[in-house]
Amino acid sequence: MHAPAVPEVSLPRRRIGRVREFLYFARRDRKIFVSLLIISSLAVVALVGPFLRDYGPNEYVGPGMQAPSSEYWFGTTTFGQDVFVQFVHGLGATFFVGIVGGGLAAVIGMTVGFVAGYRGGLIDEVLNMLTNVVLVIPTLMVLIVVVAYVNARGLLVEAIFIGFTAWPWAARAIRAQTMSLRSRDFVDLARLTGVGTRRIISGEIAPNMSSYLMLTFILLFGNAVLIAATLDFIGLGPTEGISLGLMMNNAVLWSALQLGMWWWFIPPGLGIVLIVGSLYVMNVGLDQIFNPRLRKL
Protein backbone atom coordinates (compact mmCIF):
# COMPACT_ATOMS: atom_id res chain seq x y z
CA MET A 1 0.00 0.00 0.00
CA HIS A 2 1.76 3.10 -1.14
CA ALA A 3 0.66 6.67 -0.79
CA PRO A 4 0.15 8.13 -4.24
CA ALA A 5 2.73 10.47 -5.64
CA VAL A 6 1.48 13.93 -4.85
CA PRO A 7 0.38 15.82 -7.92
CA GLU A 8 0.61 19.57 -7.96
CA VAL A 9 -2.68 21.26 -7.26
CA SER A 10 -3.30 23.44 -10.27
CA LEU A 11 -5.20 26.67 -10.06
CA PRO A 12 -8.68 26.73 -11.59
CA ARG A 13 -8.79 27.36 -15.31
CA ARG A 14 -11.48 27.36 -17.93
CA ARG A 15 -13.15 23.97 -17.67
CA ILE A 16 -13.37 23.10 -21.38
CA GLY A 17 -9.71 23.82 -21.84
CA ARG A 18 -8.85 21.43 -19.07
CA VAL A 19 -10.96 18.60 -20.44
CA ARG A 20 -9.50 19.03 -23.89
CA GLU A 21 -6.00 19.14 -22.49
CA PHE A 22 -6.68 15.98 -20.50
CA LEU A 23 -7.95 14.13 -23.55
CA TYR A 24 -5.03 15.35 -25.62
CA PHE A 25 -2.52 13.76 -23.29
CA ALA A 26 -4.65 10.76 -22.30
CA ARG A 27 -4.94 9.65 -25.92
CA ARG A 28 -1.20 9.78 -26.36
CA ASP A 29 -0.30 7.98 -23.17
CA ARG A 30 0.36 4.29 -23.65
CA LYS A 31 0.01 3.49 -19.94
CA ILE A 32 -3.53 4.81 -19.76
CA PHE A 33 -4.52 3.23 -23.05
CA VAL A 34 -3.26 -0.25 -22.17
CA SER A 35 -4.58 -0.26 -18.61
CA LEU A 36 -8.00 1.03 -19.68
CA LEU A 37 -8.09 -1.62 -22.38
CA ILE A 38 -7.32 -4.42 -19.90
CA ILE A 39 -9.80 -3.23 -17.29
CA SER A 40 -12.63 -2.65 -19.72
CA SER A 41 -12.15 -6.00 -21.43
CA LEU A 42 -12.18 -7.75 -18.04
CA ALA A 43 -15.32 -5.81 -17.15
CA VAL A 44 -16.93 -6.98 -20.40
CA VAL A 45 -15.95 -10.57 -19.60
CA ALA A 46 -17.48 -10.20 -16.13
CA LEU A 47 -20.72 -8.81 -17.60
CA VAL A 48 -21.11 -11.09 -20.61
CA GLY A 49 -19.45 -14.25 -19.28
CA PRO A 50 -22.29 -15.44 -17.04
CA PHE A 51 -24.64 -15.53 -20.06
CA LEU A 52 -22.37 -17.85 -22.04
CA ARG A 53 -23.28 -20.83 -19.86
CA ASP A 54 -26.70 -21.59 -18.49
CA TYR A 55 -25.48 -22.99 -15.16
CA GLY A 56 -24.18 -21.35 -12.01
CA PRO A 57 -20.60 -21.18 -10.73
CA ASN A 58 -21.04 -23.79 -8.01
CA GLU A 59 -23.08 -26.35 -9.94
CA TYR A 60 -21.58 -29.73 -10.66
CA VAL A 61 -21.81 -29.85 -14.42
CA GLY A 62 -19.20 -32.23 -15.75
CA PRO A 63 -16.48 -34.73 -15.03
CA GLY A 64 -13.97 -33.59 -12.41
CA MET A 65 -10.33 -32.60 -12.93
CA GLN A 66 -10.64 -31.89 -16.65
CA ALA A 67 -7.90 -29.78 -18.23
CA PRO A 68 -9.09 -26.84 -20.36
CA SER A 69 -10.95 -28.01 -23.46
CA SER A 70 -13.32 -26.61 -26.06
CA GLU A 71 -16.26 -27.46 -23.81
CA TYR A 72 -14.80 -26.29 -20.48
CA TRP A 73 -12.60 -23.38 -21.48
CA PHE A 74 -10.74 -23.20 -18.17
CA GLY A 75 -11.18 -26.86 -17.22
CA THR A 76 -13.12 -28.17 -14.24
CA THR A 77 -12.51 -28.47 -10.50
CA THR A 78 -12.10 -31.73 -8.64
CA PHE A 79 -15.86 -31.86 -8.26
CA GLY A 80 -16.71 -31.01 -11.85
CA GLN A 81 -17.53 -27.34 -11.48
CA ASP A 82 -16.73 -25.19 -14.51
CA VAL A 83 -13.69 -23.02 -13.69
CA PHE A 84 -14.53 -20.55 -16.47
CA VAL A 85 -17.99 -19.89 -15.03
CA GLN A 86 -16.49 -19.50 -11.56
CA PHE A 87 -13.92 -17.11 -12.99
CA VAL A 88 -16.41 -14.78 -14.70
CA HIS A 89 -18.67 -14.68 -11.64
CA GLY A 90 -15.61 -14.09 -9.45
CA LEU A 91 -14.51 -11.22 -11.69
CA GLY A 92 -17.89 -9.60 -11.22
CA ALA A 93 -17.63 -9.98 -7.45
CA THR A 94 -14.13 -8.47 -7.54
CA PHE A 95 -15.28 -5.40 -9.46
CA PHE A 96 -18.23 -5.00 -7.12
CA VAL A 97 -16.13 -5.15 -3.94
CA GLY A 98 -13.50 -2.88 -5.46
CA ILE A 99 -15.94 -0.19 -6.53
CA VAL A 100 -18.23 -0.30 -3.49
CA GLY A 101 -15.49 -0.90 -0.89
CA GLY A 102 -13.04 1.49 -2.50
CA GLY A 103 -15.80 4.05 -3.05
CA LEU A 104 -16.95 3.88 0.57
CA ALA A 105 -13.37 4.19 1.79
CA ALA A 106 -12.90 7.20 -0.49
CA VAL A 107 -16.06 8.88 0.85
CA ILE A 108 -15.01 8.33 4.48
CA GLY A 109 -11.43 9.36 3.78
CA MET A 110 -12.56 12.54 2.01
CA THR A 111 -15.02 13.46 4.74
CA VAL A 112 -12.47 12.99 7.51
CA GLY A 113 -9.68 14.59 5.49
CA PHE A 114 -11.68 17.64 4.41
CA VAL A 115 -13.17 18.32 7.83
CA ALA A 116 -9.90 17.78 9.71
CA GLY A 117 -7.86 19.77 7.23
CA TYR A 118 -10.28 22.66 6.84
CA ARG A 119 -11.54 23.04 10.39
CA GLY A 120 -8.27 22.49 12.21
CA GLY A 121 -8.10 22.92 15.96
CA LEU A 122 -9.62 20.38 18.29
CA ILE A 123 -11.67 18.64 15.57
CA ASP A 124 -8.46 18.12 13.63
CA GLU A 125 -6.68 16.77 16.71
CA VAL A 126 -9.43 14.23 17.38
CA LEU A 127 -9.87 13.14 13.76
CA ASN A 128 -6.13 12.94 13.24
CA MET A 129 -5.74 10.80 16.33
CA LEU A 130 -8.52 8.52 15.10
CA THR A 131 -6.88 8.29 11.67
CA ASN A 132 -3.51 7.44 13.13
CA VAL A 133 -4.92 4.80 15.46
CA VAL A 134 -6.78 3.06 12.62
CA LEU A 135 -3.68 3.45 10.48
CA VAL A 136 -1.40 1.70 12.96
CA ILE A 137 -3.77 -1.13 13.92
CA PRO A 138 -3.43 -3.93 11.38
CA THR A 139 -6.97 -3.54 10.09
CA LEU A 140 -6.94 -6.81 8.25
CA MET A 141 -6.55 -8.63 11.55
CA VAL A 142 -9.49 -6.65 12.92
CA LEU A 143 -11.49 -7.58 9.83
CA ILE A 144 -10.59 -11.23 10.28
CA VAL A 145 -11.79 -11.25 13.87
CA VAL A 146 -14.95 -9.26 13.09
CA VAL A 147 -15.87 -11.24 10.01
CA ALA A 148 -15.25 -14.55 11.76
CA TYR A 149 -18.15 -13.74 14.07
CA VAL A 150 -20.61 -12.85 11.33
CA ASN A 151 -22.28 -16.02 10.13
CA ALA A 152 -24.17 -14.95 7.02
CA ARG A 153 -22.09 -12.69 4.86
CA GLY A 154 -22.86 -11.20 1.48
CA LEU A 155 -20.70 -9.30 -0.96
CA LEU A 156 -22.14 -6.01 0.20
CA VAL A 157 -21.29 -6.71 3.84
CA GLU A 158 -17.75 -7.56 2.84
CA ALA A 159 -17.43 -4.38 0.78
CA ILE A 160 -18.77 -2.28 3.67
CA PHE A 161 -16.35 -3.85 6.15
CA ILE A 162 -13.48 -3.13 3.80
CA GLY A 163 -14.65 0.42 3.19
CA PHE A 164 -14.75 1.12 6.91
CA THR A 165 -11.16 0.02 7.47
CA ALA A 166 -9.30 1.07 4.31
CA TRP A 167 -9.80 4.85 4.51
CA PRO A 168 -7.06 6.17 6.89
CA TRP A 169 -4.18 6.85 4.49
CA ALA A 170 -6.57 8.56 2.11
CA ALA A 171 -7.85 10.74 4.94
CA ARG A 172 -4.30 11.67 5.89
CA ALA A 173 -3.30 12.56 2.34
CA ILE A 174 -6.48 14.58 1.71
CA ARG A 175 -6.07 16.37 5.03
CA ALA A 176 -2.60 17.50 4.05
CA GLN A 177 -3.82 18.72 0.65
CA THR A 178 -6.76 20.54 2.23
CA MET A 179 -4.50 22.32 4.69
CA SER A 180 -2.37 23.63 1.85
CA LEU A 181 -5.48 24.97 0.07
CA ARG A 182 -7.19 26.36 3.15
CA SER A 183 -5.26 29.60 3.26
CA ARG A 184 -5.31 30.35 -0.45
CA ASP A 185 -6.85 33.66 -1.49
CA PHE A 186 -9.89 32.25 -3.26
CA VAL A 187 -10.86 30.26 -0.18
CA ASP A 188 -10.43 33.32 2.03
CA LEU A 189 -12.56 35.29 -0.41
CA ALA A 190 -15.33 32.70 -0.27
CA ARG A 191 -15.18 32.70 3.51
CA LEU A 192 -15.32 36.52 3.66
CA THR A 193 -18.41 36.57 1.46
CA GLY A 194 -20.14 34.34 3.98
CA VAL A 195 -20.16 31.00 2.20
CA GLY A 196 -20.75 28.07 4.57
CA THR A 197 -18.14 25.47 5.42
CA ARG A 198 -19.83 22.74 3.44
CA ARG A 199 -20.11 24.90 0.33
CA ILE A 200 -16.49 25.97 0.60
CA ILE A 201 -15.33 22.38 0.81
CA SER A 202 -17.51 21.14 -2.02
CA GLY A 203 -17.30 24.25 -4.19
CA GLU A 204 -13.82 25.62 -3.63
CA ILE A 205 -11.53 23.00 -2.20
CA ALA A 206 -12.68 19.68 -3.66
CA PRO A 207 -12.74 20.86 -7.31
CA ASN A 208 -9.19 22.09 -6.95
CA MET A 209 -7.96 18.68 -5.99
CA SER A 210 -10.32 16.62 -8.12
CA SER A 211 -7.46 14.94 -9.93
CA TYR A 212 -5.96 13.97 -6.60
CA LEU A 213 -9.27 12.57 -5.39
CA MET A 214 -9.57 10.49 -8.52
CA LEU A 215 -6.11 9.02 -8.03
CA THR A 216 -7.01 8.26 -4.42
CA PHE A 217 -10.13 6.39 -5.47
CA ILE A 218 -8.18 4.34 -8.02
CA LEU A 219 -5.66 3.24 -5.40
CA LEU A 220 -8.41 2.49 -2.86
CA PHE A 221 -10.17 0.42 -5.53
CA GLY A 222 -7.01 -1.67 -6.00
CA ASN A 223 -6.47 -2.03 -2.26
CA ALA A 224 -10.06 -3.13 -1.67
CA VAL A 225 -9.64 -5.83 -4.32
CA LEU A 226 -6.49 -7.14 -2.61
CA ILE A 227 -8.05 -7.06 0.87
CA ALA A 228 -11.13 -8.90 -0.39
CA ALA A 229 -8.93 -11.53 -2.02
CA THR A 230 -7.11 -12.05 1.28
CA LEU A 231 -10.34 -12.37 3.27
CA ASP A 232 -11.88 -14.72 0.72
CA PHE A 233 -8.74 -16.82 0.67
CA ILE A 234 -8.92 -17.59 4.38
CA GLY A 235 -12.56 -18.52 4.04
CA LEU A 236 -14.03 -15.29 5.38
CA GLY A 237 -15.50 -14.05 2.12
CA PRO A 238 -19.15 -14.15 1.10
CA THR A 239 -20.78 -17.32 2.43
CA GLU A 240 -22.66 -17.81 -0.84
CA GLY A 241 -21.56 -17.49 -4.41
CA ILE A 242 -17.99 -17.41 -5.61
CA SER A 243 -15.06 -15.02 -5.70
CA LEU A 244 -11.55 -15.11 -7.08
CA GLY A 245 -10.04 -15.45 -3.60
CA LEU A 246 -12.41 -18.30 -2.75
CA MET A 247 -11.42 -20.11 -5.95
CA MET A 248 -7.78 -19.99 -4.83
CA ASN A 249 -8.78 -21.14 -1.36
CA ASN A 250 -10.64 -24.14 -2.80
CA ALA A 251 -7.76 -24.96 -5.11
CA VAL A 252 -5.28 -25.04 -2.21
CA LEU A 253 -7.73 -26.86 0.06
CA TRP A 254 -8.34 -29.67 -2.44
CA SER A 255 -4.65 -30.13 -3.33
CA ALA A 256 -4.75 -28.60 -6.82
CA LEU A 257 -1.08 -27.72 -6.22
CA GLN A 258 0.01 -31.29 -5.61
CA LEU A 259 -2.17 -32.62 -8.43
CA GLY A 260 -0.86 -30.02 -10.87
CA MET A 261 -4.34 -28.63 -11.71
CA TRP A 262 -2.91 -25.28 -12.76
CA TRP A 263 -6.10 -24.23 -14.56
CA TRP A 264 -7.85 -24.01 -11.20
CA PHE A 265 -5.56 -21.47 -9.50
CA ILE A 266 -3.91 -19.56 -12.37
CA PRO A 267 -7.03 -17.71 -13.71
CA PRO A 268 -8.27 -16.21 -10.43
CA GLY A 269 -4.86 -14.88 -9.40
CA LEU A 270 -4.12 -13.63 -12.88
CA GLY A 271 -7.47 -11.82 -12.92
CA ILE A 272 -6.61 -9.99 -9.70
CA VAL A 273 -3.09 -9.13 -10.87
CA LEU A 274 -4.45 -7.74 -14.15
CA ILE A 275 -7.10 -5.60 -12.45
CA VAL A 276 -4.91 -4.25 -9.65
CA GLY A 277 -1.82 -3.86 -11.83
CA SER A 278 -3.80 -1.95 -14.46
CA LEU A 279 -5.21 0.32 -11.77
CA TYR A 280 -1.72 1.09 -10.47
CA VAL A 281 -0.37 1.75 -13.96
CA MET A 282 -3.38 3.89 -14.81
CA ASN A 283 -2.69 5.85 -11.65
CA VAL A 284 0.84 6.60 -12.82
CA GLY A 285 -0.37 7.58 -16.28
CA LEU A 286 -3.07 9.90 -14.94
CA ASP A 287 -0.57 11.40 -12.53
CA GLN A 288 1.63 12.34 -15.45
CA ILE A 289 -1.27 14.04 -17.17
CA PHE A 290 -2.56 15.91 -14.15
CA ASN A 291 0.90 16.95 -13.13
CA PRO A 292 2.61 18.72 -16.02
CA ARG A 293 6.00 18.47 -14.36
CA LEU A 294 6.00 14.70 -14.84
CA ARG A 295 5.07 14.84 -18.51
CA LYS A 296 7.58 13.64 -21.00
CA LEU A 297 7.78 16.27 -23.71
Binding site: M1, H2, A3, A5, M129, N132, V133, L135, V136, I137, P138, T139, L140, M141, V142, I144, V145, V146, A148, Y149, V150, N151, W169, G222, L226, A229, T230, F233, I234, G235, L236, G245, M248, A251, V252, L257, Q258, G260, W262, F265, I266, P268, G269, L270, I272, V273, V276, G277, L279, Y280, V281, R293
Partner: protein
Amino acid sequence: MRRYFARKFLFYAVTFVVAVSIDWLIPRLAPGDPVRSMVSRMSLQPGDAENMMGYFMGAFGLDQPAPQQYLNFWVALLHGDLGISVWLFPQPVTQVIMGALPYTLALLIPSVLLAFWAGNKFGAYAARRKWLDGAVLPVGYILTATPYMWLAILLAWLLGTVFQVFPIAAGYGFNLAPAPTLQFAGSLVWHWFLPFLSLFLVGFGGWAIGMRNLIIYELDADYSRYLGSLGAPGKLVRKYAYRNALLPQLTGLALSLGVIVAGALVTEVVFSYPGLGWYSYQAIVNQDYFLLQGIFLFVIIGVLVANFIIDIAYVIVDPRVRLGMEAS
Protein backbone atom coordinates in the same frame (compact mmCIF):
# COMPACT_ATOMS: atom_id res chain seq x y z
CA MET B 1 14.53 13.57 22.42
CA ARG B 2 12.83 12.24 25.52
CA ARG B 3 9.66 14.23 24.82
CA TYR B 4 9.48 12.93 21.27
CA PHE B 5 9.65 9.32 22.38
CA ALA B 6 7.32 9.92 25.30
CA ARG B 7 4.71 11.28 22.89
CA LYS B 8 5.17 8.36 20.54
CA PHE B 9 4.98 5.89 23.39
CA LEU B 10 1.80 7.46 24.68
CA PHE B 11 0.26 7.20 21.23
CA TYR B 12 1.11 3.51 20.96
CA ALA B 13 -0.24 2.89 24.45
CA VAL B 14 -3.55 4.50 23.48
CA THR B 15 -3.62 2.47 20.28
CA PHE B 16 -2.99 -0.69 22.25
CA VAL B 17 -5.84 0.05 24.64
CA VAL B 18 -8.15 0.74 21.69
CA ALA B 19 -7.11 -2.50 20.01
CA VAL B 20 -7.60 -4.56 23.16
CA SER B 21 -11.01 -2.96 23.68
CA ILE B 22 -12.00 -3.82 20.11
CA ASP B 23 -10.80 -7.34 20.71
CA TRP B 24 -12.94 -7.55 23.82
CA LEU B 25 -15.95 -5.87 22.23
CA ILE B 26 -16.24 -7.78 18.96
CA PRO B 27 -17.59 -11.07 20.31
CA ARG B 28 -20.00 -9.18 22.54
CA LEU B 29 -21.39 -7.04 19.74
CA ALA B 30 -21.47 -9.79 17.15
CA PRO B 31 -24.85 -11.15 16.15
CA GLY B 32 -25.39 -14.64 17.49
CA ASP B 33 -24.08 -16.09 20.70
CA PRO B 34 -20.87 -18.11 20.50
CA VAL B 35 -21.63 -19.96 23.72
CA ARG B 36 -25.13 -20.87 22.57
CA SER B 37 -23.90 -22.11 19.22
CA MET B 38 -21.19 -24.12 20.97
CA VAL B 39 -23.74 -25.71 23.29
CA SER B 40 -26.21 -26.36 20.49
CA ARG B 41 -23.51 -28.23 18.60
CA MET B 42 -23.24 -30.66 21.55
CA SER B 43 -26.84 -31.75 20.82
CA LEU B 44 -27.95 -32.20 24.43
CA GLN B 45 -31.39 -32.68 25.97
CA PRO B 46 -33.27 -29.35 26.36
CA GLY B 47 -32.86 -29.21 30.14
CA ASP B 48 -29.20 -30.18 30.02
CA ALA B 49 -28.55 -27.54 27.38
CA GLU B 50 -29.77 -24.83 29.76
CA ASN B 51 -27.54 -26.20 32.54
CA MET B 52 -24.61 -26.32 30.15
CA MET B 53 -25.28 -22.72 29.10
CA GLY B 54 -25.29 -21.65 32.73
CA TYR B 55 -22.06 -23.52 33.37
CA PHE B 56 -20.23 -21.94 30.45
CA MET B 57 -21.56 -18.47 31.20
CA GLY B 58 -20.13 -18.85 34.70
CA ALA B 59 -16.90 -20.45 33.51
CA PHE B 60 -16.18 -17.64 31.05
CA GLY B 61 -17.39 -15.00 33.51
CA LEU B 62 -20.16 -13.92 31.15
CA ASP B 63 -22.73 -13.68 33.94
CA GLN B 64 -20.94 -10.68 35.43
CA PRO B 65 -21.72 -7.07 34.53
CA ALA B 66 -19.93 -5.78 31.42
CA PRO B 67 -17.47 -3.37 33.13
CA GLN B 68 -16.39 -6.20 35.44
CA GLN B 69 -15.90 -8.47 32.42
CA TYR B 70 -13.80 -5.80 30.75
CA LEU B 71 -11.65 -5.45 33.86
CA ASN B 72 -11.27 -9.21 34.15
CA PHE B 73 -10.15 -9.31 30.52
CA TRP B 74 -7.34 -6.84 31.24
CA VAL B 75 -6.27 -8.60 34.43
CA ALA B 76 -6.08 -11.94 32.64
CA LEU B 77 -4.28 -10.32 29.72
CA LEU B 78 -1.63 -8.77 31.93
CA HIS B 79 -1.09 -12.17 33.52
CA GLY B 80 -0.47 -13.57 30.06
CA ASP B 81 -3.68 -15.58 30.27
CA LEU B 82 -5.51 -15.60 26.96
CA GLY B 83 -7.80 -18.52 27.71
CA ILE B 84 -7.78 -22.11 26.57
CA SER B 85 -7.79 -23.14 22.95
CA VAL B 86 -11.01 -24.93 21.99
CA TRP B 87 -9.49 -26.58 18.95
CA LEU B 88 -6.29 -27.79 20.68
CA PHE B 89 -8.00 -28.38 24.01
CA PRO B 90 -6.61 -28.29 26.72
CA GLN B 91 -3.58 -26.27 25.57
CA PRO B 92 -3.58 -22.64 26.75
CA VAL B 93 -3.72 -20.13 23.91
CA THR B 94 -0.48 -18.51 25.07
CA GLN B 95 1.34 -21.81 24.72
CA VAL B 96 0.00 -22.40 21.20
CA ILE B 97 1.05 -18.91 20.17
CA MET B 98 4.51 -19.24 21.68
CA GLY B 99 5.03 -22.40 19.65
CA ALA B 100 3.99 -20.68 16.42
CA LEU B 101 5.66 -17.32 16.97
CA PRO B 102 9.25 -18.34 16.06
CA TYR B 103 8.13 -19.58 12.64
CA THR B 104 6.31 -16.36 11.83
CA LEU B 105 9.16 -14.16 13.06
CA ALA B 106 11.68 -16.22 11.10
CA LEU B 107 9.64 -15.55 7.98
CA LEU B 108 8.73 -11.93 8.56
CA ILE B 109 11.88 -10.30 9.88
CA PRO B 110 14.32 -11.43 7.16
CA SER B 111 11.84 -11.02 4.32
CA VAL B 112 10.75 -7.52 5.36
CA LEU B 113 14.27 -6.24 6.02
CA LEU B 114 15.83 -7.81 2.94
CA ALA B 115 12.99 -6.72 0.65
CA PHE B 116 13.18 -3.17 2.01
CA TRP B 117 16.95 -2.99 1.62
CA ALA B 118 17.24 -4.68 -1.76
CA GLY B 119 14.13 -3.02 -3.21
CA ASN B 120 15.31 0.45 -2.28
CA LYS B 121 18.82 -0.12 -3.59
CA PHE B 122 17.59 -1.60 -6.81
CA GLY B 123 14.90 1.05 -7.38
CA ALA B 124 17.43 3.81 -6.78
CA TYR B 125 19.88 2.20 -9.15
CA ALA B 126 17.29 1.70 -11.89
CA ALA B 127 15.84 5.23 -11.80
CA ARG B 128 16.81 7.29 -14.84
CA ARG B 129 18.72 4.42 -16.42
CA LYS B 130 16.85 3.74 -19.60
CA TRP B 131 16.91 0.02 -20.21
CA LEU B 132 16.76 -0.94 -16.51
CA ASP B 133 13.99 1.53 -15.80
CA GLY B 134 11.95 0.11 -18.63
CA ALA B 135 12.20 -3.34 -17.04
CA VAL B 136 11.75 -2.29 -13.41
CA LEU B 137 8.46 -0.49 -13.93
CA PRO B 138 6.35 -3.32 -15.35
CA VAL B 139 7.95 -6.05 -13.20
CA GLY B 140 7.60 -3.94 -10.06
CA TYR B 141 3.98 -3.06 -10.74
CA ILE B 142 3.11 -6.68 -11.47
CA LEU B 143 4.80 -7.80 -8.24
CA THR B 144 3.03 -5.22 -6.03
CA ALA B 145 -0.29 -6.00 -7.67
CA THR B 146 0.15 -9.71 -6.98
CA PRO B 147 -1.89 -11.02 -4.07
CA TYR B 148 0.52 -12.67 -1.63
CA MET B 149 -1.21 -16.02 -1.77
CA TRP B 150 -1.14 -16.19 -5.54
CA LEU B 151 2.62 -15.70 -5.74
CA ALA B 152 2.95 -18.30 -2.98
CA ILE B 153 0.72 -20.69 -4.93
CA LEU B 154 2.69 -20.15 -8.14
CA LEU B 155 6.03 -20.72 -6.43
CA ALA B 156 4.75 -23.80 -4.62
CA TRP B 157 3.38 -25.20 -7.87
CA LEU B 158 6.42 -24.42 -10.04
CA LEU B 159 9.25 -25.22 -7.62
CA GLY B 160 7.38 -27.73 -5.52
CA THR B 161 5.19 -29.79 -7.84
CA VAL B 162 6.59 -29.27 -11.34
CA PHE B 163 10.33 -29.20 -10.63
CA GLN B 164 10.15 -30.80 -7.17
CA VAL B 165 13.02 -28.73 -5.78
CA PHE B 166 11.35 -27.58 -2.56
CA PRO B 167 8.79 -29.08 -0.21
CA ILE B 168 5.45 -27.26 -0.21
CA ALA B 169 4.00 -28.08 3.20
CA ALA B 170 4.83 -27.94 6.92
CA GLY B 171 7.70 -26.35 8.83
CA TYR B 172 10.01 -29.36 8.70
CA GLY B 173 10.08 -32.90 7.30
CA PHE B 174 7.22 -35.17 8.38
CA ASN B 175 9.72 -37.89 9.30
CA LEU B 176 11.62 -35.68 11.74
CA ALA B 177 11.07 -34.61 15.32
CA PRO B 178 12.38 -31.26 16.57
CA ALA B 179 15.95 -31.91 17.72
CA PRO B 180 19.16 -29.86 17.73
CA THR B 181 20.64 -31.84 14.85
CA LEU B 182 22.09 -30.66 11.59
CA GLN B 183 19.54 -32.69 9.67
CA PHE B 184 16.63 -30.98 11.42
CA ALA B 185 18.12 -27.52 10.92
CA GLY B 186 18.57 -28.26 7.23
CA SER B 187 14.98 -29.40 6.95
CA LEU B 188 13.83 -26.21 8.67
CA VAL B 189 15.72 -24.01 6.21
CA TRP B 190 14.56 -26.10 3.27
CA HIS B 191 10.89 -25.64 4.24
CA TRP B 192 11.42 -22.00 5.13
CA PHE B 193 12.82 -20.91 1.80
CA LEU B 194 9.74 -20.81 -0.46
CA PRO B 195 7.44 -18.88 1.90
CA PHE B 196 10.31 -16.50 2.54
CA LEU B 197 10.97 -15.99 -1.17
CA SER B 198 7.31 -15.38 -1.84
CA LEU B 199 7.05 -12.68 0.83
CA PHE B 200 10.34 -11.17 -0.26
CA LEU B 201 9.36 -10.83 -3.92
CA VAL B 202 6.07 -9.00 -3.34
CA GLY B 203 7.78 -6.56 -0.98
CA PHE B 204 10.76 -6.12 -3.27
CA GLY B 205 8.58 -5.01 -6.19
CA GLY B 206 6.77 -2.44 -4.07
CA TRP B 207 9.88 -0.89 -2.57
CA ALA B 208 11.70 -0.80 -5.91
CA ILE B 209 8.82 1.04 -7.58
CA GLY B 210 8.41 3.46 -4.68
CA MET B 211 12.12 4.28 -4.53
CA ARG B 212 12.38 4.68 -8.28
CA ASN B 213 9.55 7.24 -8.31
CA LEU B 214 10.93 9.11 -5.29
CA ILE B 215 14.46 9.27 -6.69
CA ILE B 216 13.15 10.81 -9.88
CA TYR B 217 11.42 13.50 -7.81
CA GLU B 218 14.54 14.09 -5.77
CA LEU B 219 16.83 14.31 -8.81
CA ASP B 220 14.54 17.06 -10.11
CA ALA B 221 14.74 18.99 -6.85
CA ASP B 222 16.66 22.25 -6.65
CA TYR B 223 19.38 20.94 -4.37
CA SER B 224 20.19 18.13 -6.80
CA ARG B 225 20.34 20.44 -9.79
CA TYR B 226 22.46 22.89 -7.86
CA LEU B 227 24.83 20.15 -6.78
CA GLY B 228 24.99 18.91 -10.37
CA SER B 229 25.67 22.38 -11.76
CA LEU B 230 28.50 22.78 -9.27
CA GLY B 231 30.10 19.88 -11.05
CA ALA B 232 29.52 17.17 -8.44
CA PRO B 233 29.70 13.66 -9.88
CA GLY B 234 26.36 12.03 -10.62
CA LYS B 235 27.11 9.35 -8.07
CA LEU B 236 27.28 11.89 -5.26
CA VAL B 237 24.05 13.59 -6.32
CA ARG B 238 22.33 10.22 -6.36
CA LYS B 239 23.63 9.46 -2.89
CA TYR B 240 22.02 12.61 -1.49
CA ALA B 241 18.81 11.96 -3.41
CA TYR B 242 18.74 8.43 -2.01
CA ARG B 243 19.04 9.58 1.57
CA ASN B 244 16.19 12.03 1.11
CA ALA B 245 14.01 9.48 -0.63
CA LEU B 246 14.59 6.95 2.12
CA LEU B 247 12.52 8.94 4.62
CA PRO B 248 9.13 8.58 2.91
CA GLN B 249 10.01 4.94 2.29
CA LEU B 250 10.50 4.42 6.02
CA THR B 251 7.12 6.00 6.68
CA GLY B 252 5.72 3.72 4.00
CA LEU B 253 7.22 0.72 5.76
CA ALA B 254 5.46 1.66 8.98
CA LEU B 255 2.18 2.14 7.14
CA SER B 256 2.35 -1.13 5.27
CA LEU B 257 3.22 -3.34 8.25
CA GLY B 258 -0.40 -4.42 8.64
CA VAL B 259 -0.61 -5.44 4.99
CA ILE B 260 2.70 -7.30 5.22
CA VAL B 261 1.54 -9.22 8.29
CA ALA B 262 -1.67 -10.16 6.51
CA GLY B 263 0.43 -11.27 3.54
CA ALA B 264 2.49 -13.48 5.82
CA LEU B 265 -0.71 -15.01 7.20
CA VAL B 266 -2.00 -16.14 3.81
CA THR B 267 1.46 -17.23 2.67
CA GLU B 268 1.66 -19.51 5.69
CA VAL B 269 -1.74 -20.91 4.83
CA VAL B 270 -0.59 -21.80 1.31
CA PHE B 271 2.51 -23.60 2.59
CA SER B 272 0.83 -25.06 5.71
CA TYR B 273 3.70 -23.34 7.51
CA PRO B 274 3.07 -23.65 11.27
CA GLY B 275 3.23 -19.97 12.15
CA LEU B 276 0.59 -17.58 13.51
CA GLY B 277 -1.10 -17.32 10.09
CA TRP B 278 -1.69 -21.02 9.75
CA TYR B 279 -2.96 -21.21 13.32
CA SER B 280 -5.36 -18.32 12.80
CA TYR B 281 -6.66 -20.05 9.68
CA GLN B 282 -7.21 -23.22 11.71
CA ALA B 283 -8.83 -21.12 14.45
CA ILE B 284 -11.27 -19.71 11.88
CA VAL B 285 -12.05 -23.10 10.38
CA ASN B 286 -12.50 -24.68 13.81
CA GLN B 287 -14.30 -21.66 15.28
CA ASP B 288 -11.71 -21.33 18.02
CA TYR B 289 -12.37 -17.72 18.97
CA PHE B 290 -10.04 -17.65 21.96
CA LEU B 291 -7.10 -18.62 19.78
CA LEU B 292 -8.09 -16.13 17.08
CA GLN B 293 -8.35 -13.28 19.57
CA GLY B 294 -5.08 -14.24 21.22
CA ILE B 295 -3.26 -14.20 17.89
CA PHE B 296 -4.87 -10.85 17.11
CA LEU B 297 -3.41 -9.40 20.32
CA PHE B 298 0.04 -10.74 19.54
CA VAL B 299 -0.04 -9.31 16.03
CA ILE B 300 -1.09 -5.92 17.43
CA ILE B 301 1.75 -5.93 19.92
CA GLY B 302 4.21 -6.94 17.21
CA VAL B 303 3.06 -4.22 14.84
CA LEU B 304 3.20 -1.55 17.56
CA VAL B 305 6.72 -2.58 18.59
CA ALA B 306 7.81 -2.53 14.94
CA ASN B 307 6.32 0.95 14.54
CA PHE B 308 8.27 2.15 17.52
CA ILE B 309 11.48 0.72 16.09
CA ILE B 310 10.81 2.50 12.79
CA ASP B 311 10.32 5.76 14.71
CA ILE B 312 13.75 5.27 16.22
CA ALA B 313 15.23 4.45 12.82
CA TYR B 314 13.66 7.60 11.42
CA VAL B 315 15.44 9.72 14.00
CA ILE B 316 18.73 8.04 13.17
CA VAL B 317 18.33 8.45 9.42
CA ASP B 318 17.01 12.02 9.39
CA PRO B 319 19.54 14.47 10.86
CA ARG B 320 16.96 17.28 10.80
CA VAL B 321 14.73 15.50 13.31
CA ARG B 322 17.74 14.60 15.44
CA LEU B 323 19.26 18.09 15.45
CA GLY B 324 15.87 19.70 15.98
CA MET B 325 15.47 17.62 19.11
CA GLU B 326 18.89 18.41 20.44
CA ALA B 327 18.31 22.11 19.90
CA SER B 328 15.02 22.23 21.76
